[in-house]
Symmetry: C2
């Protein structure tokens, strides 16, 4: 069995990546190494899900999730020390979870898929079907995701952004319209690609002919960051937002730094009818500020569960700047410049719902037309993924 | 304190990303949320390092690492339930670790940086200085990292690869030389960018003027994968290699699928003097196979801790193909076609060391010139990062 011998050697070869770590080696049998000793999570045909973790010494293990709220999350132990719980069938969606082992937050050792939302890590799994099929990597043509650095002359630093270019961009000659897609206060340039599944949503909707091929630019909205935590010169830090939030600098740097970089470095169409901007929460406020302060630059504007001017009770020490955003003068200028789509989405349970109602009234009072989409739920990525999939088909028509 | 109120709202807003998860909320004070309750790992000025984890219920907590082999790894608990250990000063390098809490492998809850090596997740930290400064994101010009899909006509599937383009590529007009950089048996198209810090090494050496700007193409060497586990149509699976290893398909698909895609979709120089290929372990065997079977296509060949033909005792059922690789005919054809650099690096403790000696003898017997670099250590990413930083300065001169 020489090929078996080869295989064993290769196993050892990879094992040596962790350099014969005593603890690991004692757990690993090279014959089964790389195979799952057990499956977690196990999605059953009826979309009920079993979660498992082997920890014989534990006294109490809980399944820690947002979507099990109020229901039993206590796992039970079998005679081998394997803890498990099976939850009722779930709707198609992308879900996160972790375990609490005697009070300690533990990621699922059997699940390699991890997402980071601000400072919270969770394991991921997908219940397929319906809307959630847009979040899967399907066997279709795929665009490219790039991490690109640009010089922010306004801020005096190098910064990183994520760029989705549609299938056909590399090696092609066409110019494409551009959607600028902004994240919320917990995010960075990785948020829409990772938590928002933006590339999968675009790939799928473009393949279905429902969305026009476009470039999607996902910058970092925190001016105190050069790149997502761990990806910039600050090193392996934890992210922390603070005084940079709503200090006006991101909005001021947007057109001269980001839009001009994209339009000079990518094959982007550069007129108003080929520019869209959308954002969630803090990024919704960024979006409406940038759109209102630059009338005639964007034909498509999308606010997803947006923070709105009424949210900024004292405009965070930047009253002079932010007071202009929803002033009669600004709103009239925006109306005069014209736009094709002004789209607002919000969940019924969103804590920003009331403030948004006040802002919509200001739009109404100035006869600014918009589409309002009210969904269930609150301030969640479930809603933002949904809004992206509903907003993008309206663009560049 | 209206801005404080806003800040609290925004905190809640992000917290709602995990949708008011009871367990988390009870742990989180919005005033300090996002700030570190404690630091782990803490790198001290003398490069000793303190690791911490708060888990009052645990009976035994170990620091699980490869680099602490043989030394004390037992952590001690203080009166608050915080476990800690301080290790002696470490050499500059990128390090991984995790914890073993009563036998359960646990990632550090205070460290957001995680790497995946095949099916093993570990937290990351960097001890700065010397060689390790090449692995840091420094405040210099940066290239772009892209995840690109191509049609593999040979294999009949769509596949993904990673592409590094140097600073100036986007928006520029120049054509660049190309290094094809191949991973080992545990890897995929994410291995060199993530574990190998290839983009940081290239950025830093290009900024220092030691390496010529080049495109670096990092494909997936497992023909049973369309993309890294979790990133392809197979969904959120665990990776598993097997019959695909050394079945000859990757090598056969390389020129018609990957090289032709890159040269038609990127601004690549397409002659022998502007093509380099290098790989580690299994990727070293891929490299020498591709180079030997395509004489006159690559002027620069790099083998990092390579598997070599003697490793393939029975050529894994593909004797006909692999027997050609180191045949007299192939080696003579390679010699006749000529090349500028044939570079081999290996650690003294590598388990492939003896097989490599046999292969070098075959090169010697055929008067094929090569540079041999012997380093300390074994079959590790520490060596492969080092080799990349020594090999790339030799290219395209």
């Amino acid at each position: 069995m020489k090929s078996g011998n080869l295989f064993l050697k290769l196993c050892i070869c990879v094992l040596s990546l962790c350099a014969f770590q005593t603890n690991l080696l004692s757990q690993v049998n090279p014959q089964t190494w790389g195979k799952e000793p057990y499956v977690s999570p196990e999605v059953h045909p009826d979309h009920s899900v079993t979660f498992r973790i082997s920890t014989p010494a534990a006294k109490e293990v809980l399944l820690s999730t947002s979507w099990l709220s109020g229901k039993n999350n206590k796992m039970t132990k079998d005679s081998t020390g394997m803890w498990s719980i099976t939850v009722d069938p779930l709707e198609p969606e992308l879900y996160g979870y972790s375990f609490l082992v005697d009070g300690l937050k533990v990621l699922d050792p059997a699940n390699l898929q991890i997402k980071r939302d601000y400072v919270i890590l969770e394991n991921l799994f997908l219940i397929p079907g319906k809307q959630a099929d847009l979040y899967a990597v399907n066997d279709i043509n795929h665009g490219t995701l790039s991490k690109v650095w640009y010089d922010s002359k306004t801020l005096g630093i190098k910064r990183r952004l994520s760029v989705y270019t549609p299938y056909g961009y590399e090696g092609g000659k066409d110019n494409y319209p551009v959607l600028y897609l902004l994240h919320g206060v917990g995010g960075d340039e990785n948020a829409w690609p990772e938590l928002g599944r933006a590339c999968q949503i675009l790939d799928n909707l473009i393949a279905q002919g429902k969305v026009k091929p476009m470039i999607v630019v996902m910058p970092n909205g925190h001016v105190n960051q050069q790149a997502a935590a761990g990806d910039g010169p600050a090193g392996f830090i934890r992210p922390a937002f603070g005084a940079d939030v709503f200090n006006g600098q991101f909005e001021k740097s947007f057109m001269p730094d980001i839009v001009s970089f994209i339009e000079s470095h990518f094959r982007a169409k550069t007129d108003k009818t080929n520019r869209a901007i959308a954002g969630l929460s803090m990024g919704g406020m960024h979006t409406l500020t940038i759109a209102n302060m630059n009338p005639g630059k964007f034909d498509y504007i999308g606010l997803f569960s947006p923070a709105t001017p009424p949210t900024l009770d004292n405009r965070n020490g930047n009253s002079e700047f932010y007071n202009q955003v929803d002033s009669e003068t600004s709103l009239k200028a925006l109306k005069k410049s014209g736009y094709k789509v002004y789209w607002i989405g919000c969940g019924k349970d969103d804590f920003l719902y009331q403030n948004l109602a006040t802002f919509k009234k200001a739009l109404d009072n100035n006869q600014l037309k918009y589409t309002y989409r009210e969904s269930t739920g609150g301030h969640t990525w479930e809603n933002w993924r949904l809004y992206l999939s509903e907003f993008t088909p309206l663009l560049f028509r």
